[in-house]
Subunit: 109 residues, 2 copies
């Protein structure tokens, strides 16, 4: 198939992106961290509706994926914060485009 | 709060984008149609794992959201195809960025 109707559907990289970022909260947590490091409680307050246990689980998952790092500042007081890796920061152009599109095209519920 | 740790979390437009596009298949169907119009059966073959009934339901939802239109070519033979509206086409920059990022950062399962 090479005519203009060829759908070239289901680009596997895009499917992986939606599977990963669309999983509840992953994309939002990463989006939140684009504005700079945040503590657990800042994330907890900011990501409306997430529970402590789910946020913990997602931060572990995002760390394992190499997108987020956990930083410990020995203080005093000891402070833990989460920050994006370079791979995580690489999402910025995509999230910016998504935000522009959403603002223009998806109604506020 | 205005220090560098201010998270400005949970940008509502981004949350809407992930809620809508992250809903299973919506983003993938739109991504598929970025390559041009497709018939129902082309979409069905391309979006691996989707059922006829879910694809129908999603196409109605995407039409109602003003992102997809259903075109009927009276033929003969009669042919129905689905195509993106301008609002749907507006997703192209975001999906392109997501694909680039995913290719570089999300492992193939």
């Amino acid at each position: 198939m090479s005519d203009e109707h060829e759908p070239r559907l289901c680009d596997s990289a895009l499917v992986r992106a939606f599977d990963f970022l669309g999983k509840r909260w992953n994309g939002i947590i990463l989006g939140s961290l684009l504005n700079g490091p945040a503590s657990f409680s800042e994330l907890r307050r900011g990501v409306v509706g997430i529970s402590d246990s789910v946020l913990s689980e997602r931060l572990v998952e995002l760390s394992r994926a190499g997108l987020v790092t956990r930083r410990v500042d020995e203080g005093p007081p000891v402070a833990v914060s989460y920050t994006l890796t370079d791979a995580g920061l690489g999402l910025l152009p995509a999230l910016r485009e998504l935000t522009v599109w959403s603002s223009a095209n998806l109604p506020v519920a």
